[in-house]
């Protein structure tokens, strides 16, 4: 075990997997000489060379499409799109090709590809650079969507992504890159997809989050315990597709209350999916409607005060929980 920042844990995963499998190579904007916009790939060019760590033009569609093509021909590429905001320029490749080739070809062509991107607001980058659209990708059959909240999970899940035969959308919250945590150094350390993690046990309410929102949920749980004598159970989903709803349902059957926290907008977002699933599978156990704590329904403002008001906060989570009692 070593204490690593999340960006270092991600880099460890890439390094170990590239050493293990010569068919893995990396492509992306500024991932080589620059070391990656969030420094995840720093030093990998020096270790693996230009053939396997490829700086690309700013051309998201061809980067992802080339990743798909190389994956079809026996490689396991990782494409870094810098941020989720830029992934829209590659949306057709992801949605129409990566996600569907296996089905359309009747199982003949699979696309083992990892597409990494950063997401989240809170850095005063304005409306075009602050999206949290993990749920968008979780909408499509044929993709897997991973969004870790902790360094160890980041490593174990990213390594697991390179053992998958399908396209994995791997989304990292910008606020988490500097987060420290204990990370196993066992090269076979993998975290299976579709396994949520109970990161705090409690009896009174279930708070569900992923990626950045897990940390709001944990801070809210502390406030609730210290000031309100409410013991919240906090669940980190870790992967949105496949989704471990069973762990959530089991928890709700114990706590009888559920709050979903998400950085995305509430309307049409993934929190609504969780709420619907909880209703379908634990309706009789609920003492209150499932609550959603999400971003306000506005494009993200630049101004610091306005941005803080637009994003879900731990106070919003506390308020949502207290409203249930």
């Amino acid at each position: 075990m070593a204490v690593l920042r999340m960006r270092d844990a991600l880099r460890e995963a890439l390094r170990e997997e590239m050493r293990r499998n010569p068919k893995i190579f990396l492509m992306g904007e500024d991932i080589g000489k620059y070391g990656g916009s969030y420094a995840v790939t720093a030093g990998l060019l020096e270790e693996f060379g230009e053939e396997r760590v490829r700086d690309t033009p700013i051309a998201e569609s061809v980067i992802v499409g080339a990743g798909i093509g190389a994956a079809m021909a026996g490689y396991h590429p990782m494409v870094e799109l810098m941020t989720i905001n830029f992934s829209f320029l590659a949306l057709d490749q992801i949605v129409n090709n990566a996600a569907k080739l296996l089905y359309m070809s009747n199982g003949q062509i699979n696309v083992p590809l990892v597409i990494r991107m950063a997401s989240g607001g809170g850095s005063q980058l304005g409306a075009t650079h602050s999206h949290s659209l993990e749920g968008l990708y979780a909408h499509f059959p044929g993709l897997k969507v991973v969004c870790p909240a902790f360094p160890a999970d980041a490593k174990g899940l990213l390594k697991r992504a390179f053992r998958d035969q399908n396209t994995v959308i791997f989304i990292e919250h910008t606020a988490n890159y500097g987060l420290r945590g204990e990370v196993p150094d066992d090269p076979d350390f993998l975290i299976e997809f579709g396994q949520a993690n109970i990161v705090r046990e409690g009896r009174d309410v279930t708070i569900v989050g992923y990626s950045g929102s897990v940390h709001q949920a944990l801070r809210a749980a502390e406030i609730l315990a210290e000031q309100e004598e409410v013991e919240a159970e906090v669940i980190d989903l870790r992967t949105l597709r496949p989704l471990d709803i069973a762990t959530v349902v089991e928890s709700v059957k114990k706590t009888n209350r559920c709050v979903v926290v998400e950085d995305d907008w509430k309307f049409g977002g993934f929190a609504g999916e969780i709420a619907a699933l909880v209703m379908e599978h634990a309706f009789d156990w609920l003492d209150a409607p499932v609550a959603r704590v999400c971003s306000k329904d506005v494009p993200m403002p630049y101004n610091r005060t306005l941005e803080y008001a637009a994003l879900p906060s731990e106070e919003d989570v506390v308020d949502a929980v207290l409203a249930m009692f």
């Binding site: 569609s61 061809v62 093509g69 021909a73 490689y75 490749q93 296996l102 003949q108 709803i245």
Partner: protein, 339 residues
């Protein structure tokens, strides 16, 4: 356009047997597509159906140059490309019928044919959406040190798409072995190329420092000769090459096209350049074919097409129980949750 005169020497080099095979393949594709059009009007084939009639010399002249291990990706007017690449036409017709024996198990349809065994890696129905994939295939060929190349077939309608430019640039920048093959049939659906492109197609390729030639896409010998030179270059230099084949589609864009954008005379003019008639004449002139010979070719093609139709008719539908198969590899059901 590079003027290519089909001299007896050129015919001699390709050889009688091969040229007769080209003729057979073109006649076969013509009959196949005409029959598919009929079956569409009878409701046996549904969805969108884009017929290839008029353009047969492009597929036959070019893909015939490739080796089995070379990878081909194509657009949605893809029946001809799949068949010439070696996909069993029975399984192509069955795919149009949506049957379980189709080359995509009835999951793809006319626009999404696949046969990995034949290295036909797909028809792609989003315009220019397969061009980035071709770059990745060619990159894999280069990185692996293997000798195969990628061929990407697209229409003139792709040229204004961003992915065309992204793909040509990256292929040239990274020097990967891809043959760009543009079937310029003058129309992106109903919009004439003159109304959608400000420059000449091959000039764009040249701007990305990719060697480019124009060829008469209604002349199978000319297409074959141009592609032979192109493929030699791509395989030897491990770099992209660009062919623009000037061709024409006789039928509408799809079966739903009332063709309000062109006059009948234009289609009649194009038919005077017909690829089948042209090769037939060339072969007759050198004494390698007579009327009885052509008749026999046509009869054989018709019988083969009927065998395809019969196969498709008699094939089973995919079972409802297979609905969730192949959503995810290694996951038999592919469900999103464990609920």
């Amino acid at each position: 356009m590079t003027t290519r005169t089909t001299t007896p020497e050129v015919l001699e080099r390709i050889g009688r047997e091969r040229l007769l095979d080209f003729l057979y393949q073109m006649v076969f594709l013509r009959r196949f597509e005409e029959r598919a059009g009929e079956l569409y009007t009878k409701g046996k084939i549904r969805g969108f159906l884009h017929l290839y009639t008029g353009q047969e010399a492009c597929a036959v002249g070019s893909i015939s140059v490739l080796r089995p291990e070379d990878r081909v990706v194509s657009h949605y007017r893809d029946h001809g490309h799949a068949i010439v690449k070696g996909v069993d036409p029975k399984t192509v017709m069955a795919e149009l019928f949506g049957k379980a024996t189709g080359c995509a198990g009835g999951r793809g349809g006319s626009m999404h044919l696949f046969d990995v065994q034949k290295n036909f890696l797909g028809g792609y129905a989003i315009v220019a959406g397969h061009m980035p994939i071709a770059v990745g295939l060619a990159l894999a060929a280069k990185m692996s040190g293997e000798d195969w190349i990628a061929m990407c077939i697209f229409g003139d309608g792709s040229i204004a798409e961003g992915e065309f430019h992204e793909s040509l640039n990256l292929a040239a920048l990274w020097k990967v072995p891809v043959l760009w093959f543009c079937e310029n049939n003058l129309y992106g659906m109903g919009v004439h190329l003159k109304e959608s492109l400000v420059t000449d197609i091959t000039k764009l390729a040249a701007a990305y420092e990719i060697p480019a030639v124009k060829v008469d896409g209604m002349d199978v010998v000319a297409v074959h000769e141009a592609t032979r030179e192109a493929v030699e270059y791509v395989r030897r230099e491990k770099r992209p090459y660009f062919i623009e084949a000037e061709t024409y589609r006789y039928r509408g864009h799809s079966m739903a096209d009332p063709e309000l954008y062109r006059v009948k005379e234009e289609v009649e003019q194009a038919r005077k350049r017909d690829c089948i008639e042209r090769l037939r004449r060339q072969l007759e002139e050198v004494g390698w074919l007579d009327e009885a010979g052509f008749h026999a070719i046509n009869e054989r093609a018709e019988a083969e097409v009927e065998a395809c139709v019969q196969f498709a008719e008699e094939s089973p539908e995919p079972g409802i129980e297979t609905l969730y198969d192949h959503v995810l590899k290694g996951d038999p059901h592919g469900r999103p949750t464990n609920a």
